[in-house]
């Protein structure tokens, strides 16, 4: 297997000096508050990047298009398209004619430049607040290989997004998921990984064995998933950089599934079904030692660690219907946190630690929702025939999930935590069980 993150270490970041004075400290006009719910998207322009040598020419337009798509896809920004531009950016270091951009109602202007030598590429960008006529932050320069050109566009997008929203970015990240094909009754299910925008899909398994529920580690280098390659569900651990994989966490006579990494990556929590009972177990990857965390005559599954590693959220039907509980990561007394109508499944702790995403079934409909970690302030973000398997963007502001229309195929969707900007993520075919990895370095 080729290394998936081959260009990971190839990036060098350089801060460029400003060509315009920085904003006075008190002024912060170019600002979006995501949590408030954005009513009016911020108009931006991103002209084709300036090619600084002839080899850079083929990437100049493409880089700017990826940045534009990323920002537009957040629902927070609206592009003023290149056809509407009056001004032309012919040199990265030339001064900006703000009045020309104001005239077409642009608020945020992103300029960039690219040069290519052999397989090495350098991308630079600057962000300007058109209304105040100021550069926002320093320019940045990224260096890497040409085959990672999209990643550099994602890095530019992340920097722009962060400067305007004050939140961490999420564009330079990957998603592992299950790619499905064939008839529903004998479906082929392959593990696949892609960029968060659906590009660069690579298959990680060949489809001979059924796989479900992949989970990426917080470092993004390893994947846990459930495989039927031995005939019964077992856990597999795959290293995406070396392609090595191994089966882990065997419990004799049990169906073993629903794994999730501990935040430090040193262990996992999973569930095992045996004798009509499903309980949670924890395993240290170094020693292989397994510890049973729950022993309740019920279905107890879908565990998820809090980002500080101290707690585990899970679902259990011990009260009659499935509800969400939180317990110490070493086991012990669990506290029920969901009390609304219907049943609750698949709790997933936000990487920020502030919210738990979940699947809810009520009155024949499925929802993706979020609640605070004590169960308060429940909000449903989606509603459909079948929504499930939420996963958090690394900045904790966007959730990706599986949606299946009645009689249709599953596909991946994303929604932000205010319930806005529901979007379908393009995949090569039916897709399910996304797991969103970290922001790449």
């Amino acid at each position: 297997m080729t290394r998936l993150f081959h260009s990971l270490t190839a990036f060098a970041v350089l801060v460029l000096t400003s060509i315009a004075p920085l904003l006075p400290a008190q002024a912060q006009p170019l600002r979006l508050q995501i949590t408030e719910g954005v009513i009016e998207p911020m108009p931006f322009a991103v002209p084709a990047f300036v090619p600084e040598n002839s080899a850079g020419g083929q990437y100049a337009e493409r880089l700017s298009r990826v940045v534009a798509a990323n920002l537009t896809n957040t629902g927070l920004f609206r592009e003023v398209p290149p056809q509407a531009h009056i001004a032309r950016i012919s040199s990265f270091d030339a001064s900006v004619s703000y009045s020309d951009w104001r005239a077409v109602n642009v608020q945020a202007l992103i300029t960039g430049a690219v040069s290519v030598q052999g397989n090495r590429m350098t991308v630079k960008f600057r962000l300007f607040d058109v209304l105040t006529g100021q550069q926002v932050g320093d320019g940045l320069q990224f260096a890497g290989t040409t085959d990672s050109w999209r990643r550099m566009a994602h890095k530019v997008s992340d920097a722009v997004y962060s400067r305007i929203t004050g939140e961490g970015g999420y564009f330079d990240s990957r998603v592992v998921f299950v790619s499905e094909s064939g008839p529903r009754t004998s479906r082929t299910r392959r593990l696949a990984i892609m960029d968060q925008d659906g590009e660069n899909v690579q298959f990680l398994t060949d489809g001979r064995a059924m796989v479900i529920g992949p989970r990426m580690s917080l470092s993004g280098e390893r994947i846990l998933y459930t495989t039927y390659e031995t005939g019964t569900p077992r856990l597999a651990l795959m290293n995406t950089q070396t392609g090595q994989r191994q089966l882990v966490g065997d419990i004799p006579g049990a169906q073993v599934f629903s794994p999730r990494f501990s935040p430090d990556g040193g262990g996992l929590v999973f569930s095992a079904a045996r004798g009509g009972n499903t309980d949670l177990y924890r395993m240290a990857l170094s020693s292989g030692q397994i510890q049973q965390l729950t022993s309740s005559p019920s279905i107890t599954t879908a565990p998820s660690f809090s980002p500080d590693g101290r707690f585990i959220a899970f679902e259990s039907d011990r009260s009659g219907t499935t509800q969400i509980y939180v317990m110490p990561a070493s086991g012990g007394e669990a506290r029920r946190i969901s009390f609304g109508q219907g049943r609750y499944n698949t709790p997933v702790w936000s990487p920020r630690g502030d919210l738990i995403a979940f699947t809810k079934q009520n009155a024949g409909r499925f929802h993706i929702g979020v609640m605070r970690t004590d169960g308060s302030e429940e909000r449903l973000l989606t509603a459909s025939f079948l929504d499930e398997s939420p996963t958090w963007a690394p900045n904790g502001r966007v959730i990706m999930f599986t949606r299946e229309a009645q009689g249709g195929d599953p596909s991946l969707f994303s929604v932000d935590i205010t319930g806005r900007n529901l979007r379908r993520i393009p995949t090569p075919g039916p897709a399910s069980d996304p797991s969103w990895g970290p922001l790449l370095q």
Partner: protein, 179 residues
């Protein structure tokens, strides 16, 4: 079981899937780890003929699958055996006790109206309920193992009650010849 017999049984399963009725699955659930069943394990592959026998022959696997019935059904979220299910399992137990050369994979399945992990747990609960019942009727636990497919191996896919009702099932898949 010898490798050869395992291979033959796998191939027999494929042959069954290939000549199965057109509604997709039918008796046997459409798999390969034996005579029917939903398995898609990594032993798939190969072409041969297997002998399921004549359903009119009470000792044949075909008879078990088609005349006795290799599956029982469940209501939503339940793993309780119905009176009809118990009657089917009683007949299965009689056949299994008379044909002790076969081992069994007890498959548990759920309909699609639930989350994936929960449905694997629920499928296990159903398979376990059916297996425990067979044990109670004298079938040796050593001959049986459980596998839950959750909602991922429906016998029919139509996103309607009609399909969900037949997908909530435990299938007694004849998996091979022991000894």
């Amino acid at each position: 079981m010898t490798l050869t017999s395992k291979a033959l049984l796998v191939l027999a399963g494929l042959a069954l899937a290939a000549c199965n009725n057109p509604r997709g699955g039918g008796f046997g659930g459409g798999g390969s780890d034996g005579f029917g069943g939903a398995n898609d394990g990594f032993y798939d592959g190969g072409i041969s003929t297997g002998n399921l026998g004549d359903p009119n022959d009470p000792r044949s696997v075909a008879h078990f699958q088609q005349r006795i019935g290799d599956r029982v059904f469940f209501t939503v979220d339940s793993s309780s055996l119905s009176a009809e299910g118990r009657a089917t399992l009683d007949a299965q137990a009689r056949w299994l006790n008379a044909n002790t050369q076969y081992s069994i994979v007890m498959e548990g399945h759920a309909d699609e109206r639930g989350t994936r992990d929960y449905n694997i747990a629920l499928g296990e609960r159903r398979a376990n309920a059916a297996m425990q019942y067979l044990i109670g009727q004298g079938v040796s636990a050593n001959r049986m193992r459980v596998v839950s497919y959750g909602k991922d191996r429906p016998v029919e896919a139509c996103a309607a009650q009609r399909c969900w009702d037949i997908n909530r099932r435990a299938v007694t898949a004849i998996a091979g010849v022991t000894g």
